[in-house]
């Protein structure tokens, strides 16, 4: 019994490795193994005198058995690897069983007990046929500098490329046409998507889907979206005219300007300085001494309170 289980375990590991070749049979093996185990559990139960068992309990026992066997396999593998081998030997199994608290000596007696039931070997499922790889063309032989034990070249179709290209569309009209319709399609798809995912309004009461309008949503600060150029436009502007870059950098610095109070004054100073390039060079020197009351630092309160009252 132990042998059969062990082989079943080995078999299962073997099939797992086989499963790599074709993914589909893996499930089959799994099911088959499970079925066999179930038969084993059932026969053991019968042997123990049960006449019937609930499906759930059989399942539980099967699970336990499977775990047990798996553990034996795992441990045995570890022992064998520990001794730098790849194939487990009987002693590995024995050590494992001992380690798991199983009295090995009882095993031969148990195996030879009289009332044991013999289970027929599970039907051998058809070895899955590895589908033949498409062979397109002759595999290339190794060039002389590559040792022959190296794997063969893969099929030619995996690395050979056949450059194919159409004449580039240079016709202006077609290009424009294409750009326009592409753009329109994108826009339409995008707006439809937005309309589908969000709230909509409709011009026709009976039909809400043909001309869906994205519902109007009020802003908390409406002037910002209305006045500030969108990022796209900013980008375009940068592309079309690099001299506008000043502005671009300014917006990047924006968060600085929103900062508060005392340091604000200095920051404003820097913002003025940033603008310098647009000024005639001669002015640059004076920039630091701009005397504007709004740039002056805020004074600390005086001890005398509110002189304004006087």
């Amino acid at each position: 019994m132990a042998d059969t289980t062990a082989t079943a375990g080995a078999g299962s590991s073997g099939t797992r490795s086989g499963g790599k070749q074709s993914t589909n049979p893996a499930d089959n093996y799994h099911l088959a193994r499970r079925r066999t185990l179930q038969v084993v559990v059932s026969s053991l139960l019968t042997e123990a005198g049960f006449e019937s068992a609930e499906k759930a309990s059989v399942e539980t026992l099967t699970e336990m058995l499977q775990s047990y066997i798996s553990e034996i396999g795992r441990s045995a593998k570890s022992y064998c690897e520990h001794t730098a081998r790849t194939q487990p030997t009987l002693s590995d199994i024995v050590v494992t069983l001992v380690e798991m608290g199983f009295n090995v000596d009882t095993l031969p007696a148990y195996a030879k007990r009289s009332q044991r039931m013999v289970i027929t070997a599970p039907p051998v499922t058809n070895q899955p046929v590895t589908p033949k790889a498409l062979i397109a063309g002759q595999n290339r032989p190794h060039p002389p500098h590559i040792p022959s034990h190296f794997p063969e070249f893969p099929d030619p179709h995996t690395y050979i490329k056949t450059p194919t290209y159409r004449e580039p569309v240079s016709d202006y009209q077609v290009l424009r046409e294409k750009a326009a319709s592409q753009r329109r399609d994108v826009e339409r798809a995008l707006t439809r998507f937005m309309a589908k995912t969000g709230e909509t309004q409709s011009l026709f009461k009976d039909d809400v889907s043909t001309f869906p309008l994205i519902a109007a949503r009020p802003f908390t600060i409406p002037y910002l979206t209305a006045l500030l150029p969108s990022e796209l436009e900013m980008q375009q502007m940068e592309e079309t005219d690099s001299s506008e870059q000043d502005e671009q950098t300014d917006t990047e610095n924006l968060p600085l300007h929103i900062s508060t109070d005392d340091s604000g004054a200095e920051k404003e100073n820097t913002s003025v300085l940033q603008q310098n390039p647009s000024l005639p060079g001669s002015r640059n020197g004076e920039e630091n001494i701009i005397d504007n009351p709004y740039l002056r630092p805020v004074k600390k309160p005086k001890i005398r309170r509110k002189k304004s009252l006087s």
């Binding site: 319709s181 209305a226 500030l228 647009s278 504007n292 009351p293």
Partner: protein, 1200 residues
């Protein structure tokens, strides 16, 4: 002491200042405004003011100041508690609850209420009693310091809070507050002398959150932290004497930008907008330079600030040394269309800095000088910046506007003189509002007033030359700056005030010319000139016989006598002739210089010296005349309708170089749909040198001509091939080039042409399929990737074009509009609109121009029956939180829906918004749009017109809009449009009971309705100038009713009232009894019910019963009646007095009495009685929370 006692003293008081007489018995020299707490959460303001005042008369014991909606806690004069009364009659104009609902009555009452507190007349809402301890001090004319503690809670006008509801501190949210208002509205946010003629120096202090900036007038002296370091105080000092009305404030988390060219100029904008601010203001220094150069005068203030804020009241508001702009004027470098508009706003505000802020005015009737000068120098700036063509085009536009307005409404008077105060002499009797005060003016009137003012300045310039003109301005400015530097000689400050006479005197001093006739014609008199011209060529005499007729009988016109320039373009050249327009001469013979000789091929000299080749084949063989122009320089405010042959208009269009002439000929050619006209227009369209605005209007004219010629039109639709040639690819003519808007002229043309093309119609009156496809292709192939500029305006106009192409749907027996029966063309249009509108949500365009156009287009589709008419979409876009342009567009659609579908629900929705919307501009705009596109008008039957609506609107203008002059006047305009001047026809007449007794019911309704309609007609046709006339007409059958009407109408104006009753004394039809009876009979018979039945003879019991039922006003004690009678000297005055007082037994009536006092000095005691009365009312009306104010109530001696 009463003001009457002050009157002679005031008259006697002579000051060194030429001509200016202060209406106040004191001179204000300095004012401190200190706002130490601003709470954005609660929208409240706490602060105090301190006015330094020098009495100018010995017995000054009461000081009147202006203050509205402020809660006054405490008033101290030289540290002594002073009693005060706060009384604002404009809060509720008509107090009686009677069913009186006619606008005449309201306008008079409103004008009276405004003048009762008019600071220009020395009045005010806040009356402070000088404590008796100080009387001696006052008699020595020593200084008084008036200290007033006040607060403002949730102000509805004057100060506007913008507090976005997002997370974060107020500064992070971008919350801000700013002062706003129409004309002198400073009293809405602190007590002051809210007159443009009372100048003083200022110290302004604002304590704000440390993250905020307070921007105000004058120099920022210092910024100091408070002790807890969480707030800071901005100290401003304004040493140039300035009127309170020019004081302003803006507080917010502004970003600060010091102008890189002028360091004393600082710009402020809301967070995140700094890049836009930089670009927008980068131009301002050029405007400064321009004005300083032409005026040869430095900018008068030591600094200048521009603040850009959200939810602006007006786009531009100029105050002393600072201007407040709408944030929506900011733009980036990519925006074309907004740039000139914003620059114009900047220039306008700067012009007003010189004239309007620095130089103020003496009185309201001098306003035209300031508006005129600032508008005029702004025009000069336009000429320099945008060129002569743009300038002349603008002048022509302004001229057309003012002409149209005056002809529609009956005239705009620049310099109203209110001598004698007789209502009969009211120079503006054709209007439904009083022009005595800026605050009673319709907003439209005021804009037209400004327009006319600058046009008249231009006329003066024509007369005396620009050089002299600028010298005059310079003189005014240098006088003012000399005066302003006299720090301690406040009597000199009146040099900073301009008056009409002072201005005219300067002109005559500088130029030595007499411009009196011109002033008389255009300034002292309203109306424009309407010329009709035609001509004949007399071949024998080689003379042009020109006939010029005038229409001076229609409303808004006047007769013109004087020189008139006529330019005749002949074959030999262009010749100017100056005709004298006189009383009876219609015909003018003008000798021609050239014989007709076309065979000699020779170039034809034009006005500007240019010589051109012309194809003369079109012209009349016998005549050497190419074209004739009347008043080419627009030196008369006129409308000219001139008749000349179509070929002459065509020559004029092609060869006359003046843009105004071209514009005029385009307009005229609409009437000549011929191939020749088509050719002339097409040629103009193609001519690159031609002014772009002319080319744009040629587009529309061409579309009209093409439609008229539809049956004979050959070739592709008008403008299509032209557009293709100009803007499409050479190789594939159906595809437009990728956008390149570097040439603005072609940009504007490219924008306009499709819009005009979409107006084309085929024989079935449908837009040709070819045109629609063309426009759809333009949209499809629009490609802005390589463009330096944004194409948002261009795309918006493409949508406008689509909307223009829509024609009414063919409807088979009112079927319901569904998708299935949608016209395939409309489906294409709708698809585009949907896509554009949805794309806007993802990539919004500048100022949401595309959304705006889409909303308009959807309304067009609804209106034409392609899409079911439904306001729901627009209502959602009209909600607060959308960009203001979108809101206005959506509201416009709702207004239109209300009219077309006569929807009561939508009207209510709009009215509700007028009352509750947070943005004053939007509220104003709704009223304005409702007035322009009214759901019904006065002579129209409409289910919407009902009593509830009348009541609602009445309430709106009577009390609902007291915090905003502009809004109130807007409500008055709407009321006028809907119901006319007299009683709304949908109301049951209060006289019904009486009439029922006289006649049968059927007979009752007719005479009341018919006179109404006739009266309405009469108003528009002849402008009845007196109420008596009108009323007499209205009530042909009942003299007693007549009387009733009259005293209702004019009750607030004692003069008219008295004169009316004087008339009645002489009128035999009125039973003599009625003059004496009412007072006594009422006190005897129905002493408790007064308001509704004043002046009603008690001869008819059912009548008085009827009124008794209606009378809901306050009770009048019989005791008072008995006091009244013995005091009165004449029965007449008893009557008038009693009727007013009983009707307005509320606290405001004593102001009317004061108003009248000048005329009736003999009733002092009697009046005091009322004063007590009114004080008690005050007690009820105002709940004072501080003990100091309680004192004022207790103080008994105010009227002693």
């Amino acid at each position: 002491m009463t003001p009457t006692g002050l009157e002679p003293a005031r008259m006697n008081r002579k000051k060194g200042d030429k001509g200016f007489e202060s209406p106040r018995p004191y001179k204000l020299t300095h004012q401190v405004v200190c706002i130490n707490n601003i709470n954005f959460q609660r929208k409240s303001v706490v602060g105090f003011v301190e006015l330094t005042v020098f009495p100018t008369v010995a017995n000054l014991n009461r000081i009147k100041l202006s203050s509205k909606q402020c809660r006054i806690y405490r008033v101290r004069i030289n540290d002594l508690e002073a009693a005060f009364i706060y009384n604002d009659p404009t809060l509720e104009v008509c107090h009686n609850e009677s069913k009186q609902r006619n606008l005449n009555y309201f306008s008079n009452a409103y004008a009276a209420a405004v003048s009762a507190v008019d600071p220009d007349a020395g009045n005010g809402e806040l009356c402070i009693k000088v404590p008796s301890e100080l009387w001696k001090h006052v008699d020595e004319l020593k200084v008084l310091k008036i200290h007033i503690n006040f607060s403002l809670d949730q102000p509805k006008g004057g100060l506007h809070f913008v507090v976005p509801s997002v997370e974060g501190s107020m500064a992070e949210r971008g919350a801000h507050v700013f002062s706003c208002g129409y004309q002198n509205s400073t009293r809405f946010w602190f007590p002051c002398v809210d007159s443009y003629s009372e100048l003083c120096t200022w110290k302004l202090e604002f304590t704000v959150d440390a993250a905020m900036v307070a921007v105000s007038n004058g120099d920022l002296v210092e910024t100091v932290y408070t002790h807890d370091m969480r707030k800071k105080t901005f100290h401003y000092m304004l040493t140039i004497p300035t009127a309170a009305s020019n004081i302003s404030l803006a507080i917010g988390p502004f970003e600060i930008l010091v102008d890189p060219y002028m360091h004393e100029v600082t710009h402020f904008c809301l967070p995140q907008l700094l890049p836009l601010l930089k670009h927008t203001t980068s131009y301002l220094h050029e405007v400064f330079e321009f004005y300083e150069e032409i005026l040869t005068c430095r900018y008068p203030y030591s600094c200048f600030k521009t603040v850009f804020i959200d939810e602006a009241y007006v786009e531009v508001a100029a105050y002393a040394s600072m201007s407040i702009f709408s944030t929506n004027l900011l733009h980036s470098a990519m925006i074309i269309d907004e740039t000139p508009l914003t620059r114009r706003c900047l220039a306008q505000s700067l012009a007003q800095q010189f004239f309007g802020c620095f130089i103020s005015r003496m009185s309201w009737s001098d306003e035209w000088v300031l508006k005129g000068i600032s508008g005029y120098i702004y025009g000069l700036w336009m000429k320099k910046t945008f060129g002569v063509n743009e300038y002349r085009h603008w002048i022509k536009e302004e001229l057309d506007k003012i002409v149209a307005y005056e002809l529609k409404t009956g005239g705009v008077l620049l310099h109203p003189i209110f001598g004698g105060g007789k209502e009969k002499d009211n120079p503006a009797s054709h209007l439904h509002f009083s022009i005595k005060h800026p605050h009673t003016l319709s907003w439209e009137y005021y804009t037209m007033f400004q327009c006319k003012a600058h046009l008249v300045m231009r006329l003066i310039e024509n007369r005396i030359s620009m050089e002299f003109m600028l010298q005059v301005f310079n003189k005014l400015l240098s006088l003012a700056s000399t005066a302003s530097s006299q720090k301690f000689q406040s009597h000199m400050w009146s040099q900073m005030l301009v008056s009409t006479s002072g201005f005219l005197k300067s002109i005559s001093n500088v130029s030595g010319k007499d411009i009196q006739p011109l002033i008389k014609q255009w300034v002292d008199q309203s109306g424009v000139v309407k010329f009709y011209g035609s001509f004949a060529f007399n071949r024998k005499r080689n003379v042009l016989e020109l006939e010029i007729k005038q229409d001076y009988t229609s409303p808004g016109t006047q007769k013109y006598v004087g020189p008139l320039k006529v330019t005749v373009q002949e074959l030999d050249g262009s010749f100017n002739h100056t005709l004298q327009i006189e009383e009876n001469s219609l015909k003018h013979d003008i000798p021609c210089h050239s014989k007709s000789r076309r065979n000699k091929k020779k170039k034809i000299p034009l006005m500007n010296g240019e010589e051109v080749d012309m194809d003369l084949s079109a012209m009349d063989a016998d005549s050497p005349l190419l074209w004739i122009r009347i008043d080419p320089d627009m030196s008369v405010l006129r409308k000219v309708e001139f008749e000349q042959a179509d070929f002459m208009w065509q020559y004029q269009l092609r060869y006359e170089r003046d843009v105004v002439a071209q514009q005029e000929s385009i307009l005229a050619l609409e009437k000549f749909p011929t191939p020749a006209s088509r050719l002339a227009l097409t040629d103009i369209l193609e001519q690159e040198q031609c002014f772009y605005r002319v080319r744009m209007s040629a587009c529309f004219c061409l579309a009209k001509i093409a439609n008229s010629m539809v049956s004979t039109w050959t070739g592709p639709p008008a403008m299509k091939s032209l557009f293709t040639r100009m803007f499409c690819c050479k190789t594939c003519p159906n595809i437009v080039k990728t956008n390149n808007f570097m040439s603005f002229q072609s940009y504007f043309l490219q924008k306009t042409m499709p819009v005009a093309m979409a107006l084309l119609r085929d024989v079935h009156n449908l837009c040709p399929k070819e045109v629609l496809t063309f426009i759809l292709d333009l949209i499809k192939y629009n490609d802005n990737r390589k463009n330096k500029f944004s194409d948002n305006y261009y795309r918006a106009e493409m949508i406008d074009a689509l909307a223009n192409s829509v024609t009414p749907a063919v409807s088979v027996n009112n079927e319901v509009r569904t998708l299935d029966n949608l016209n395939p063309d409309v489906r294409l249009i709708l698809e585009e609109i949907t896509r554009f509108l949805n794309m806007e949500k993802l990539l919004p365009s500048y100022r949401h121009t595309i959304t705006v156009s889409c909303l308009r287009a959807i309304r067009v589709l609804q209106k034409n029956g392609h899409v079911p008419s439904d306001p729901a979409l627009f209502k959602s876009y009209a909600e607060y939180g959308h960009f203001v342009d979108i809101r206005i567009a959506a509201l416009e659609a709702v207004v239109d829906y209300t009219k077309v579908d006569r929807s009561y629900e939508e009207l209510q929705w709009l009215l509700n918004m007028i009352q509750n919307d947070p943005v004053p501009y939007v509220r104003h705009k709704i009223l304005n749009m409702l007035t322009k596109n009214p759901p019904f008008t006065k002579n129209m039957e409409s289910p919407l017109c009902n009593e509830a609506l009348v009541d609602q609107l009445w309430k709106l203008m009577n009390s609902g809009t007291s915090h905003d002059w502009r809004l109130r006047c807007g409500a008055v305009d709407l009321y006028f449009t809907l119901f006319g001047l007299s009683r709304p026809s949908c109301l049951p007449l209060p006289e019904l009971g009486l009439v029922l007794n006289l006649k049968e019911k059927k007979a009752v309704l007719n005479p009341t309705i018919i006179p109404e309609a006739i009266a309405g007609n009469q108003e528009t046709a002849i402008n009845p100038s007196s109420h008596a006339q009108l009323v007499g007409f209205q009530n042909p059958f009942s003299s007693s009713q007549d009387e009733e009407e009259i005293d209702m109408d004019t009750v607030h104006d004692s003069q008219a009232f008295i004169s009316h009753h004087l008339n009645m004394l002489e009128r035999p039809s009125t039973p003599g009894l009625s003059k004496y009876r009412p007072a006594s009979s009422r006190s005897a018979l129905i002493p408790q019910h007064s308001p509704g039945c004043d002046g009603t003879p008690a001869t008819k019991p059912p009548w008085s019963m009827e009124l008794a039922r209606k009378g809901t006003g306050k009770e009048q004690s019989p005791l008072e009646m008995s006091i009244l009678h013995p005091v009165a000297t004449t029965p007449l005055s008893v009557f008038s007095k009693e009727s007013t007082s009983s009707k307005h037994s509320d606290h405001h009536h004593h102001h009317h009495h004061e108003h009248k006092k000048k005329k009736k000095k003999h009733k002092h005691k009697h009046k005091h009685k009322h004063k007590h009365d009114s004080k008690e009312k005050d007690k009820e009306a105002f709940t004072f929370s501080s003990p100091a104010s309680g004192r004022s109530i207790r103080s008994p001696s105010l009227s002693d």
